[in-house]
């Protein structure tokens, strides 16, 4: 049994403009010790999914259905109080902007102690010791001194480390990181990602990283879930999704990303159009208005029929009406180079993978 099993998750908000289908029938698993990267544009439902798992979307006007099973226990049907007890202890979350996510009026130590003491009946001294240990573990220098600092006295990277320390204080088995590096400097991003990878290896927890940065996913994720308009467009191991993407949207994402391992032959190819409104999701395949290939599917299929998330081989799934063979052919032409193992993975955010001189490359002009 996977640590986290999400089944047919639907999150809908009632607004004055209509019903927002932020997440529409999403299913995925995260195993212990594995990292799932959820990617997609703004408004694709990534963050809503994570907040729904954490039970932070309960409220009037929000309708959540489906199942979120944490270690076998369904959180959607659980009482609010039960989910609150699991929050921070069994599952924890770190957020995008650590400056606004930390309370400006309390010291970093107090905020970590608070998180620890909600779930552990210990004295302040014990909690403080724990906070100092955690700050040391996430790489804050002089933790015994800095524990009394306020968030504004920390640098951006240190704040995110403090957030991670707070999330880890009760040894969570599931850690959700919502755009953990987006608000940070590039050099600091790499450090924070390394820290997350290290800590996961140490604690063996399940990790979900939500991001729009494919470089982040390439660096840390074992599995990838590509979301579009609140649904899964493609799902599979990171290797599969990066080397043999099976959805036109994934092709678009990969094509719009700068790469350092491939000689630049032409401009980046942005995906035309904008993400759809989640109130009026296009009928049929939600991606069809921006897709180049409905003609190759033939007929009105893309406009009328919602594609199912189907296996394309070895657990690699995609929701597209094109046949697997068609997609393989199209990708073979789109791919910047023949999909040789180990070469088609996108560049890390750190420019480490410059093309090696001896390596054969067809597109090198």
């Amino acid at each position: 049994m996977a640590m986290l099993e999400v089944r047919d998750l639907r999150v809908q908000f009632k607004t004055d403009d209509g019903l927002v289908r932020a997440v529409d029938g999403l299913s995925f698993d995260v195993e212990r010790g594995r990292t799932l990267g959820i990617v997609g544009e703004s408004g694709s439902g990534k963050s809503v999914t994570s907040l729904a798992i954490m039970g932070l979307h309960r409220g009037k006007g929000t309708d959540i259905s489906g199942q979120v099973r944490l270690d076998g226990e369904d959180l959607v049907s659980a009482s609010a109080d039960r989910v609150r007890h699991l929050r921070g202890s069994k599952m924890a979350m770190i957020f995008q902007d650590p400056l606004t996510a930390l309370h400006p009026f309390y010291s970093v130590g107090v905020q970590i102690m608070e998180a620890y003491r909600v779930h552990n009946n210990v004295s302040k001294q014990v909690a403080r010791k724990r906070a100092i240990d955690l700050l040391a573990r996430v790489g804050i220098p002089q933790p015994a001194v800095r524990v009394d600092d306020y968030p504004h006295q920390f640098s951006g990277g240190m704040r995110q480390r403090a957030m991670i320390a707070m999330a880890l204080c009760c040894d969570p088995e599931l850690l959700i990181a919502d755009e953990p590096t987006t608000a940070l400097d590039v050099t600091v991003q790499a450090q924070i990602l390394d820290l997350i990878v290290d800590l996961q290896a140490e604690f063996g927890s399940a990790v979900i990283i939500i991001t729009h940065d494919l470089g982040v996913v390439a660096e840390v994720a074992d599995d990838v879930l590509v979301m579009y308009a609140g649904r899964a467009a493609e799902k599979g191991s990171a290797d599969d999704v990066f080397r043999r993407p099976m959805h036109p949207y994934a092709w678009g994402l990969l094509g719009s990303m700068p790469r350092l391992d491939v000689a630049r032959v032409d401009r980046l190819r942005p995906i035309p159009g904008t993400p759809p409104s989640l109130i009026n999701v296009p009928p049929g395949c939600p991606f069809h208005p921006r897709c180049t290939y409905p003609a190759q599917v033939g007929g009105d299929k893309c406009r009328t029929e919602i594609p199912l998330l189907l296996d394309t081989g070895m657990g690699h799934q995609a929701a597209c009406h094109l046949s697997v063979r068609q997609r393989q052919e199209i990708w073979a032409q789109l791919a910047p180079e023949p999909s040789e193992p180990g070469t088609a993975i996108p560049a890390d955010i750190v420019p480490a993978t410059t093309p090696e001189p001896g390596e054969p490359s067809e597109v090198e002009a």
Partner: protein
Amino acid sequence: MITFIIRRLITMVFLLVVVSMITFGIFFLIPRLAGQNAYELAAQYVGRNPTRSAILQMEAKLGLNDPLVVQYWRFLKGIVVGAHYNDGPSQTYCPPPCFGYSFRSQQPVWPQMMAALPVTVSLAIGAAILWVVGGVAIGVLSALRRGSIFDRFTMAVALAGVSLPIFFTGLISLELFSYKWPLFPNVQWVPLTTNPALWARNLVLPWITLAFLYAALYARLTRAGMLETMNEDFIRTARAKGLPERKVVFRHGLRAALTPILTIFGMDLGLLLGGAVLTESTFSLPGLGQFTILAIQNQDFPEIMGVVMLAAFFIVVANMLVDILYAVVDPRVRIT
């Protein structure tokens, strides 16, 4: 912190000197520019049907023939070290802080103001406690139940509260609770030291009337502040930690929402201590507000100047305390 306080104290003295210059200018320079002479001014100190010799004597005693600068200097000096007046054969000593003598009663201004001050302080402090507790509680509840019947009802009442003038709500409350249903009959000022129970009983209506106005304001401010802070990222973090909602609201939400209200509270209280004019008039409380009104009605310049200086003093002090308190409450604020 110490340097900050010292610097603020110096600024405070400077500010009060400027206030004194302006008030002195208004009451002694402008009439003189308009043609009033020392004799006419002295006549005002002497009272009704003065004799010429009495007026001349007063003119000499108060030094009204001296240049204005000298008179102003004497005024400032009087506040700090007191003043001696040559009263013919004898001398009168006006101990510091000496704001001169009232036209009306021929008494020194300062003791009169000190007699009125406890009334205003009793009124202001009691009302302040009521409105802070009431206003903030209603504001928090309204924000948490945004759009509910409670929210709509209290916000409608609050709108009425900020719109209705005190002489209206005050008179209505007197009519209802002092005459029709005499819960608080015969409202009049009784010093706390004389009879604490009666002091409190007689102040209930003024407290509620004054607090109603401010509570309405504070409820709206708190509601707006809470709605804003409850959408902050750190509130989501607090929930993600698994904190119970009560702690999320009070420890994290209210703490942040209250900080700006603290500033407004300091200023409001400072302003009120200079005299709650309308409330005191409505309930016939002999506080600084009443004192001010009488001073203005009688064109009693020394009294007006005294009360202006005292009110300015309260505001300046409140301002400083708020700044210091802000640094204590918000660690991001460093005062240097």
